[in-house]
């Protein structure tokens, strides 16, 4: 395997995302595996930000600390990142070379040439510096310039003039820029893959599931998903409602669910906190609603555009009183798609709120995955009665399996009373009978056991590798861990997927490994606590990272090595 690591750095708003996205797409089209991620400031313009793109002919799922090519769009980028660039690497810049890695590009000359040719002002072309840098990279990696131009044309499909100018810039760059070294990559073999992130994967999964109602209040990094849905709402019949706050968002989703629509909301920590009261209501009223929880660095507003998995225990125990919920965590974009799809089945089958845990790094890192297989998708709406007539109907009837048939307005004689107060079978709240209370608590909480019995193992956990030592983790570190255990085959990897109810029986059986470590992106190693509480597993080391950046392959390998001697290993790579 040979990999190439590109970093595009510069002020936010200067188009660095355009450069990295285009490069990613070009390489994916050429059959490479691509993994990209963004480090942005919580600001709109100006602050230093950067994107990474890693490319390889073999499957990769994490980023590397090594930078082979740095596109530095301002001098700050050089100061901040030059030490990360490999000794044989390239630094693409307008400025004076400091060492042999520097490739000085004549931005202005190229732009001027194109401006002259097309009879434009230089100022009109100044935004195209990114395109030049991209073309230089293309030349270094020996990409046919047509591959780049094709993607540019697609990007600007609606503005062909812009496409033409950008492509002229590519031509000009290829023709006048001299490169004295190059990087050669083995031929790509992975064709037909999508370049996608989890925000898109979730949105598409929801559409497949028949989502009809999505309410949201804008928040990074969750709202990309809602905006994607807005783009296709008409075609797929999804009502997407931007609300006045997150309290309205969750309440509207709950009401829509109780009116018969598959309903969801997406948010991040601050918004989820505001939804907690209604989450408890959904539990009490047995409402099938799905919350997509995109974690970011907290507490409070924290670092809104940075990564963290700090909300695990919170998601599991949020809400006053005790009620059943399901908490699942996909670990990559494919799982994000399938879990998003399945979450609606779970919600409707068991009539409870489902929380799908995602995070900033999943939402904002694009990488290649095979096209989703839709052939096995199956929708199950549980005991839902959408039409016709019923008799002797009671919304919260006691049944053998603890799940009551569910009507919606319009069903004749199916009138329900939904209540967040403790209620009788008919939904009324006035007896406050202590024995009914016990039965109703048993009915609701009993679902947890049923779920553990019903769910297939792959919804509960996945297992990889054959080492004697075990990594246990959840969510997005998956990619880095899978890449790392190729290098450290003495580790196996247990990916916990069902976080609540906790599959204690299954997980306990892993307590036989020589050494067990957790890998998580939070301060205290919350999964470690959960394993202790639920499975009696006392991990020997907790590898954590909480500086707002995702885990790089190399630091994880190092962290695994350190974990032999340390109870807590803090990863710090930025």
């Amino acid at each position: 395997m040979k990999d190439l690591n590109l970093m595009v750095a510069g002020p936010q708003g200067s188009g660095i995302n355009f450069t990295s996205d285009t490069f990613s797409k070009v390489m994916a089209r050429l059959g490479y595996y691509v993994f990209s991620n963004a480090e942005l400031f919580s600001t709109i313009k100006g602050e230093h930000s950067y994107f990474r793109v890693r490319v390889s002919d073999e499957l990769i799922r994490s980023y590397s600390e090594r930078v082979d090519i740095l596109i530095a769009l301002d001098s700050k980028s050089i100061i901040l990142h030059k030490d990360e660039v490999d000794g044989n690497g390239f630094i693409i810049t307008e400025e004076k070379p400091l060492d042999s890695r520097f490739v000085q590009v004549e931005y202005n000359k190229i732009l001027q040439n194109v401006a002259n040719k097309y009879n434009k002002n230089l100022s009109e072309l100044s935004v195209m510096k990114n395109t030049i840098a991209l073309a230089v990279v293309g030349k270094i990696v020996s990409i046919p310039k047509e591959a780049i131009q094709k993607v540019i044309s697609e990007n600007f499909a609606k503005r062909p003039n812009i496409a033409q100018l950008n492509n002229a810039v590519v031509d000009e760059t290829y023709s006048i820029t001299k490169i004295d070294r190059s990087i050669s990559l083995p031929k790509g073999k992975a064709f037909g893959n999508m370049l996608i992130n989890s925000a898109e994967a979730v949105a598409i999964g929801k559409i497949a599931a028949g989502l009809r109602f999505q309410s949201y209040y804008p928040i990074t990094p969750a709202s990309d998903e809602s905006q994607y849905l807005e783009g296709v709402m008409s075609k797929y019949n999804v009502i997407v409602e931007q609300t006045e706050d997150e309290i309205a968002a969750i309440n509207m989703a709950i009401a829509a669910a109780n009116t018969g629509l598959r309903s969801a909301t997406s948010t991040s920590g601050p918004g989820f906190s505001l939804m907690v009261e209604a989450l408890s209501y959904a539990g009490m009223t047995e409402t099938p609603v799905v919350i997509f929880y995109y974690q970011r660095a907290g507490p409070s507003t924290g670092m809104p555009t940075r990564h963290e998995q700090g909300d695990l225990k919170f998601a599991i125990s949020a809400g006053h009183g005790e009620f059943p919920r399901i908490v699942i965590a996909p670990g990559d974009h494919e799982e994000a798609f399938y879990d998003a799809f399945e979450s609606f089945n779970l919600a409707e089958k068991y009539q409870l709120p489902v929380i799908v845990m995602l995070d900033k790094s999943m939402a904002m890192s694009n990488y290649t995955v095979p096209k989703f297989d839709t052939s096995k998708l199956k929708i199950d709406r549980g005991k839902l009665i959408l039409e016709g007539e019923v008799s002797n109907y009671k919304r919260y009837a006691f049944t053998e399996d603890g799940i009551s048939p569910r009507t919606v307005p319009g069903v004749k004689n199916g009138m329900f009373t939904i209540a967040g107060d403790e209620h009788e079978e008919d939904g009324h709240i006035f007896s406050e009978d202590p024995d009914n209370r016990i039965k109703m608590m048993d009915k609701r909480m009993g679902k947890l056991k049923k779920i553990l019995g019903d769910l297939p193992n792959e919804m509960k956990y996945k297992f990889y590798g054959n080492g004697d030592n075990l990594i246990i983790s959840w969510g997005s570190p998956k990619g880095a861990i899978l890449d790392a255990i190729r290098e450290r085959p003495e580790y196996s990897y247990l990916q916990l997927r069902l976080l609540h109810p906790f599959p204690a029986d299954e997980i306990k059986s892993f307590n036989k490994y020589k050494r067990i470590v957790t890998v998580e992106q939070n301060y205290s190693g919350q999964l470690g606590d959960i394993l202790k509480e639920n499975a009696g597993i006392d991990v020997s080391s907790r590898i954590v990272k909480f500086n707002g950046r995702p885990i790089a392959l190399e630091e994880l390998i190092e962290g695994l090595d350190k974990s032999k001697n340390e109870r807590r290993v803090v990863l710090t790579y930025a």
Binding site: I204, E244, K371, K412
Partner: protein
């Protein structure tokens, strides 16, 4: 013919509570309009008032404190074929739920919003509600109320409600007729109901209102605006009327203006929204998703 609109649940309001009048007027209105029970959705928040969903034999949503209106809007958006009525206490509507009160004006969802306006937080034992007048201290308060009251009529006018009315729980006829008119109104309709709380509010009582409330319509106010120009002009006058609170308190309709409702606007964004009922429009066939996502996947390759 619809079934009876009353459930057989025993009512637990205090004897003499104004809430009874609202329940009566509402069920009478539904009876008169002959809407099938299963086509009506009624929401409540939390409070004495908000127990009303238990007493009306329709699809009943007893929600959270302050969230009656938020949920009601979603119900109507989810299924525009329903007749949706949101009930709320003044605490629900104008205290903890004010953000929804204002935002609802922006949507103009076609539903009826009934505020049970008693000046107190009944169910929590009589604290000041947002409509309690300044300087008053009904017997349940430890200290006098030093806040000015919200003016629900003025606030609704400012928020863009297209039908705004005041009525009175002990005037069943006026209240029933107002509710009918509100239900028939195409758009968001507010009925602020003066509702004496006999247990905690010994100021805004039946005696208080009986002598003060007068009927705007009987005194000649025509609230109907037929176009935007007229609407704007009538708004100013309606505001002036809404400020009357003293020896004379106006009741009746302050404004009535029909314009595009939210479902009409939504159908601009959703091509099938008008023709299909999204509730019964299936999402699967024998488990197989109806939506074909292939084009979306193709775009990403």
């Amino acid at each position: 013919m619809p079934n009876s609109y009353r459930t057989n649940v025993e009512i637990d309001w205090c004897p003499g509570c104004g809430d009874f009048g609202i329940l009566n007027a509402l069920t009478l209105a539904l009876q008169e309009l002959k809407i099938p029970n299963e086509k009506v959705a009624l929401t409540g928040g939390i409070g004495c008032s908000s127990k009303i969903p238990h007493y009306v034999n329709v699809y009943a949503y007893h929600t959270l404190h302050g969230r009656s209106l938020a949920q009601a809007q979603a119900i109507k958006i989810a299924n525009p074929e329903l007749e949706v009525i949101a009930a709320a206490g003044d605490g629900d509507a104008l205290g903890i739920g004010t953000q929804h009160f204002v935002a609802a004006g922006r949507r103009n969802v076609d539903l009826t919003y009934l505020i049970f306006d008693n000046g107190v937080y009944g169910l929590t034992k009589g604290q000041a509600s947002p409509t309690l007048p300044y300087g008053e201290s009904p017997k349940s308060l430890q200290v006098e109320n030093i806040k000015d009251p919200v003016n629900p009529i003025f606030l609704a006018l400012a928020s863009g409600y297209t039908f705004v009315a005041r009525s009175y729980s002990y005037n069943i006829k006026h209240l029933k007729d107002t509710i009918i008119r509100a239900i028939k109104h195409k758009g968001l309709a507010l009925v602020d109901v003066m509702q004496p709380c006999v247990t905690y509010n010994n100021i805004n009582t039946k005696e208080y209102y009986d002598s003060r409330l007068y009927d705007l319509q009987k005194e000649g106010w025509d609230p109907v605006a037929k176009n935007e120009e007229e609407y704007k002009q009538k708004l100013g006058q309606a505001v002036i009327k809404s400020l009357e609170w003293g020896d004379r308190i106006p009741m009746g309709v302050f404004i009535e203006y029909e314009k595009e409702t939210y479902d009409e606007r939504l159908s601009k964004l959703l091509k099938n929204y008008k023709e299909k009922n999204f509730v019964t429009f299936p999402v699967h066939e024998n488990g197989k998703p109806v939506n074909d996502i292939t084009p979306l996947l193709e775009e990403l390759v």
